[in-house]
Symmetry: C2
Subunit: 191 residues, 2 copies
DNA sequence: AGCGTAAGAGAACGATCGTTCTCCACAAAA
DNA sequence: TTTTGTGGAGAACGATCGTTCTCTTACGCT
């Protein structure tokens, strides 16, 4: 097993364990057992647990971004591409391992560590930028994109706590209303 | 110091420490030191740390509810009473100890404990009911109330992570748009 | 074959976790 | 004054934390 493969196994196991149980609740011994990577190797690949957490967040950011872009790319009409964000959320919320946004959870638990707080902030800023671009393609303002991002964030926490995927559809309908209010209804082409 | 006063000191210290540092990061020794209540007394007042966390959540629920109702009660016009929710958030977000919603944080960190998850769920359901009532007074639907609750939830996490109180005002403007879309603009009386 | 070295398993380290127990001081009752 | 008992301070408990170290095995090189 080379270093690349070992890192992959560690990050994958850590992501699953930290996300499902909380970060502090999972010790290095458990991570060793479930990743199959010895403690010595773990500490040669990562300098500390905090580095592993940062690696997990980076990995999660990639998965999120790729999944989101894949969902959006399946849709053509600019306004529907914006709404596809909430369809992506709806699919995620029905995953039975769903337990809210891993970044928000990490921030609440160990956001006092500056490097963790920074990683979470960057992820959320990246999502904001993504929404601004997507909304701009539909002719909408950055202000509108901010509203739609708030709805997406609210849907994530509400779905996690209520244990229901419904907030995704609810957020989608609210987004439709906000888009229509700024842009008018463009489901039929106007010239 | 009677039991009532001792409980008050424990809950107050625990709330401050857990909210500011995360729950698992604060041990019973620190809680003993900062509350001034001995470990023996602590365990005669509460059967376990989990009971203390539940007490903190209950206390936080009371503070939140009272503060919210106080803010809303200062306003007369039904639509403005709805918007006062976001003014309450704006005030909270500027508190320099603000670190997001304590319930969301607790859920992410130790939501695997059923009693904690239940307490968080009840708090959020209570807020949903509050919004439904408030929106109904303005002639709005439960569906609209759901949208406005999502905005409030999203504003809390976004403000915490971005470290800015601005999402409160952003959510307020989005809420205004959603209210106008369902009810029309009622800032001047229409007959 | 003999030697050097990297990596494995997991014991060990000091610290701290939640919880319990011991010991002592002081106040009320006899 | 002596006895009894309640509650405080904090030591102690076993477990587990993140991290390091030891010991052993096994493989590459000459």
């Amino acid at each position: 097993m080379d270093d690349v493969e070992a890192r992959r196994r560690v990050i994958e196991a850590a992501d699953r364990l930290y996300y499902g149980n909380g970060i502090q609740a999972v010790g290095m011994d458990r991570l060793r057992t479930e990743s199959g990577v010895s403690l010595k190797r773990l500490y040669s690949l990562f300098s500390s647990k905090e580095e592993i957490v940062l690696g997990v967040l980076s990995h999660r950011h990639q998965l999120w971004t790729q999944g989101l872009e894949a969902q959006v790319s399946q849709v053509g009409a600019p306004q529907d591409r914006v709404l596809a964000v909430y369809d992506y959320l709806a699919g995620w919320f029905t995953d039975d391992t769903f337990r809210g946004c891993g970044f928000i959870n990490a921030f609440g638990e160990i956001g006092t560590a500056p490097s963790i707080a920074a990683a979470v902030r960057e992820h959320k800023e990246s999502f904001q930028r993504f929404m601004v671009g997507l909304v701009a393609q539909a002719g909408g303002s950055a202000e509108l994109a901010g509203y739609l991002a708030l709805l997406a964030e609210g849907a994530q926490t509400t779905a996690a706590i209520a244990g229901s995927p419904d907030p995704a559809r609810q957020a989608r309908r609210a987004a439709q209303t906000l888009i229509s209010a700024e842009l008018g209804d463009r489901t039929t082409v106007t010239v």
